[in-house]
């Protein structure tokens, strides 16, 4: 009797479990949290004051009949014996395993970081932390808001840019952009890892009144002094700051340990997404080491590939990304795949409308992924980096 176990009810896990259920499979989904958070929502909570309730839903409302939802915290996975251990001692067996545990945020790697996030909140660690950031931004009448990162590898590469655009927009509306500087400190050579994208984003940042430092990787934070020090030997003072934390693989003990890379991400075949050396276990989304951006789109598309493969089809993941960069009234997308570096995609109002539609479809696309599949497929084919290589 087939027993499919999905670990984690984030974007990837919910899409995989619900898609399998729509094809008649019995699935068990293990999740430690009662609520699912639409993570991009943290940007709108932190920098535009949206209510957290807009971006959270109970996990139980997001699973279809046919999916058995188990509340529990995964502590260990034994790939050889096909066992999953929960922290409370329960043990699950499986015939097929899908690991969708996301990335773990490490606030201890950078001295002062834990203190910073406890005091000011941020836009990565949860809806409450995002609300805390908003309560401080609202009070900020003069000084400097710094948005920075502790490592070049983090989910949604344009997230700090979006944060800066949204914050600058809010401050402008409050009439405070003259007295509050929005400063984006990035751990890259240019304004974005890809130079093609950097050339498109840089003038927009300038237009929005955002100041940028490049080659600035946060090494330590002195919260009382209001100062951030970088690995590259620079420093910057802040009145309010949000630093994107170091990301690591899921905090779960995995046997054999060789399937994890040095940062704890699960090593997979980049096309088939099976765990290296195992054909009955897969890893999707942020938890895997697939060499592409860590985004919801990637997790969603990866889940579709894995479900196809479980059904016996030879689907392959091509590493497609579609990260939105939202600026004032406009948007661009970072479009790339394993074989194509990001193509030039200019900012437009139409793309902003598309992004609004993607956000509006989020909850429905988690629960009824098979309904959205043809629509998303058409979009991804139309905007394949190979066919729009000249730009969009």
């Amino acid at each position: 009797m087939e027993k499919i176990l999905v670990l984690g009810a984030g974007t990837g896990g919910l899409v995989a479990a619900n898609l399998l259920a729509s094809h008649g499979y019995k699935v068990t989904l293990i999740e430690r949290s009662d609520t699912h958070l639409f993570q991009p929502g943290m940007l709108w909570i932190a920098f535009q004051g949206h209510s957290p309730s807009r971006y959270t839903r109970p996990v139980k409302d997001l699973v279809r009949p046919g999916v058995e939802l188990v509340k529990g915290s995964v502590a260990g996975i034994d790939l050889g014996d096909r066992l999953v251990y929960l922290a409370d001692g329960r043990i699950f067996t499986y015939t097929t395993l899908i690991i969708a545990l996301g990335a773990q945020l490490d606030y201890e790697a950078v001295p002062g970081h834990r203190e910073l996030v406890e005091r000011y909140g941020d836009f990565y660690s949860g809806a409450q932390a995002a609300a805390r950031m908003w309560s401080h931004l609202r009070e900020l009448v003069r000084g400097r808001l710094v948005i920075a990162a502790a490592d070049p590898l983090y989910k949604c590469p344009p997230a700090p840019h979006k944060a800066a655009f949204l914050a600058a927009h809010t401050l402008r509306r409050m009439g405070r952009l003259d007295s509050v500087e929005v400063h984006l400190a990035l751990p890259f050579l240019h304004e974005y890892p890809s130079e093609v994208v950097a050339r498109i984003v840089a003038p927009k940042l300038e237009e929005a009144g955002v100041n940028v430092s490049t080659l600035f990787t946060v090494e330590s934070i002195d919260v009382d002094k209001g100062r951030i020090y970088s690995l590259e030997g620079e420093e910057i003072d802040f009145s309010l700051a949000a630093v994107i934390p170091v990301h690591r693989g899921p905090s779960v003990k995995v046997e054999p340990g060789e399937v994890l890379d040095e940062d704890g991400f699960v090593k997979v075949d980049r096309y088939k997404l099976n765990v290296e050396g195992y054909d009955d276990a897969y890893a999707i989304g942020d938890a895997s080491n697939a060499p592409t951006s860590k985004t919801g789109v990637t997790a969603h598309l990866g889940a579709e590939v894995v479900v196809d493969r479980i059904m016996g089809l030879d689907s392959r993941f091509n590493g497609r990304t579609n990260c939105p960069i939202v600026a004032n009234g406009e948007a661009s997308f970072v479009i790339s795949s394993y074989d194509y570096p990001p193509v030039p995609v200019k900012f437009s109002r139409f793309k902003r409308m598309l992004e609004d539609l993607f956000i509006a479809s989020y909850w429905s696309s988690l629960k009824y992924p098979e309904r959205w599949a043809p629509i998303f497929r058409a979009y991804f084919n139309a905007t394949d980096p190979r066919v729009i290589s000249g730009g969009w």
Binding site: F350, I375, R377, A378, Y379, V387
Partner: protein, 122 residues
């Protein structure tokens, strides 16, 4: 906080006059849609294959680029339409070369060349 009984919440909701009014309108809308036959069309369209064909027809590289540039296109079309409505005198060939000194004409010519190049690519 004590979790509330869902049935209790539903009963409370039903008693809300705002809810009653909304429900009446919804029923009227559904009836009207049914009578006009539109509901049948919508039901037929909610088929996976229809959605698939429709979305792959509507969302192509061409339409995505078109929609992205719709503002520039309508702006240009608006200018052209206005120019068409204004009276013009025929330009004698001997004076054609003077028109080419006009920077707007030169820019327009550059645009036309770019359009020709794009057409050549397809």
């Amino acid at each position: 906080m004590q979790a509330r009984d869902p049935l209790e919440m539903l009963i409370e909701e039903l008693g809300d006059p705002e809810f009653q009014e909304a429900l009446d309108k919804l029923v009227a809308l559904v009836k009207a849609l049914n009578k006009s036959g539109l509901l049948d069309v919508l039901l037929a369209m909610a088929d996976e294959e229809v959605v698939s064909r429709l979305s792959s027809m509507l969302m192509t590289t061409g339409t995505m680029k078109l929609a992205d540039n719709i503002e520039a296109l309508t702006r240009a079309a608006g200018e052209v339409a206005q120019a068409l409505s204004e009276p013009v005198e025929p330009v004698p060939p001997s004076e054609l070369v003077y028109s080419l000194r006009d920077p707007e004409v030169l820019r327009g010519l550059a645009r036309l060349l770019a359009v020709l190049r794009a057409l050549g690519r397809t």
